[in-house]
């Protein structure tokens, strides 16, 4: 396993491997996302309380999931980059940020839009949306710190420290926001009303999440390849690629 790990750290190997993986990730993710969309919009039965409006769940929940998942991946890659001094890990961390921030923004906007017919307002300070908002701030801060350095190595390492500090804070932030929202209103009013979901309604959700995950894999492959080329400016292996 370690040989694989260190092999991956070698840029020419990684470049080739990522190039081979990308189409697999890409096409399967496309298929799954389309399938999940059709299933969620057409095949799944309408909700008892929310009618067809609940179908927003099928894009909102996977986005929220990805926003958090990607941050964790970003932080783990950052830690690997710092500990083992692997440029590729830092490159992966950098590649995660724009996608992660996009999903966070998407989760926020779809959550807000979903809120209007459900609670009558465009924004509510409920636990999920507030946590996503703070997560967006963390992503933006990460990207701002990265871009404020001219030296790419320094940018990598400083951003890595920030990502790790951020990921440690995320459980604390989640818990404190959860605690904060239960103080003034009974839980039933503030929670995104999701009654016990029946299995036929869950399937498109799982399909969409897996589709998004594979999509993220594809995006990461593409961006990482670009980053590898950028960081290996004058290496001789480039001629073979």
């Amino acid at each position: 396993m370690w040989t694989w790990f260190h092999k991956f750290g070698s840029p020419p190997h990684a470049y080739r491997l990522l190039g081979k993986l990308a189409p697999w990730f890409g096409w399967t993710s496309l298929a799954l996302i389309l399938l999940a969309t059709w299933w969620g919009l057409v095949k799944a039965p309408a909700d008892y309380q929310q009618g067809d409006g609940f179908r927003i769940l099928y894009v909102h929940a996977p986005s929220a999931w990805m926003s958090m998942f990607i941050y964790v991946v970003m932080a783990i890659a950052a830690a690997i980059g710092l500990i083992w001094r692997m440029k590729i890990a830092h490159a992966a961390s950098a590649a995660c940020a724009p996608v992660g921030a996009s999903f966070t923004l998407l989760a926020l906007v779809t959550g807000a839009i979903w809120g209007k017919p459900m609670w009558g307002t465009w924004w509510v300070w409920d636990a999920r949306l507030t946590s996503e908002l703070i997560l967006l701030f963390l992503y933006l801060g990460y990207m701002a710190l990265r871009s404020s350095f001219d030296d790419p190595q320094r940018a990598d390492r400083a951003a890595a420290v920030l990502a790790i500090v951020g990921v440690i804070n995320i459980p604390i932030i989640h818990y404190s926001v959860e605690w904060w929202t239960t103080l003034h209103q009974p839980a039933s009013v503030t929670k995104m009303s999701r009654p016990t979901i029946a299995l036929p309604m869950l399937i498109p959700l799982f399909l969409m999440i897996i589709g998004f995950q594979l999509y993220f894999g594809w995006v990461l492959c593409r961006r990482l390849r670009g980053e590898i080329l950028r960081r290996e400016r004058n290496a001789s292996w480039l001629k073979e690629a």
Binding site: F137, L140, V161, G166, N169, V177
Partner: protein, 228 residues
């Protein structure tokens, strides 16, 4: 490894920073003045009615303390990095975390502690009752302490960045939101007669967590900022 040289070094750093600050009173006083000015903004923006202000008094004092602390944090490491002292510390072989913690402590004594002591005054101006003074001060004591450490990490990361103060705030504020939630809530509970021990204990837990992990992150960040 004997602890004595580290302890002495840390103590020297503490003494040096405190002495330096006494020669620049205005710099130490500015965050405090900012604090008072900001708390004045809220009644002006809303209402002079104390019974209404009372409801948000804990939150306003906390937010003002947060912002005033952030203002002061930008200069925490700047002068030492610029004149090369920090590089010496990194190379010295002394555990960097302790030296940085000593600096943070000095900084907190000069900027954080005055905010804590001044809090009952500005709180009362917003209608905060005497019964909540203790909770207000205790929560701010732990809160400003944690914030100094979190801010120290942010300052260490942004020390080389031009006009890094806005970036510093952008980085530190999201991390400080749990502090704000628990601290302000503790004060509100004390005002309502409930026991604030829950959120106060959570604040304490966060403080000790940052005390143990913070110096690690700070020294990593300083090394990155200083090394070539």
């Amino acid at each position: 490894m004997s602890l004595a040289p580290t302890w002495q070094a840390a103590r020297l750093v503490l003494q040096r920073d405190l002495t330096l600050a006494t020669r620049r009173w205005d710099e130490a006083a500015q965050p405090l003045i900012f604090y008072v000015v900001v708390t004045t903004l809220f009644p002006l923006a809303t209402t002079p009615d104390l019974s209404q202000l009372r409801v948000i008094s804990g939150g306003v004092v906390w937010v003002a303390a947060l912002l005033a602390s952030l203002l002061a944090l930008e200069s925490l490491f700047r002068s030492d990095v610029e004149d090369g002292t920090m590089e010496q510390w990194v190379l010295s072989g002394q555990p960097l975390g302790w030296l940085l913690l000593a600096k943070v402590l000095a900084h907190w004594i000069l900027t954080g502690l005055p905010l804590v002591l001044m809090a009952p005054v500005v709180g009362t101006a917003l209608g905060l009752p005497f019964s909540a003074w203790g909770t207000l001060m205790l929560s701010l004591l732990m809160g400003t302490g944690t914030l100094s450490i979190l801010g120290g990490i942010g300052a260490a990361l942004t020390v080389g960045v031009r006009r890094g103060s806005v970036l510093l705030s952008l980085l530190v504020l999201p991390l400080a939101m749990p502090l704000l939630i628990f601290g302000a809530r503790a004060v509100a509970m004390a005002m309502d007669g409930e026991s604030p021990s829950g959120p106060l204990q959570l604040l304490a837990a966060i403080f000790f967590l940052s005390l143990s992990l913070g110096p690690l992150a700070m020294s990593a960040a300083i090394r990155i900022s200083v090394e070539n």
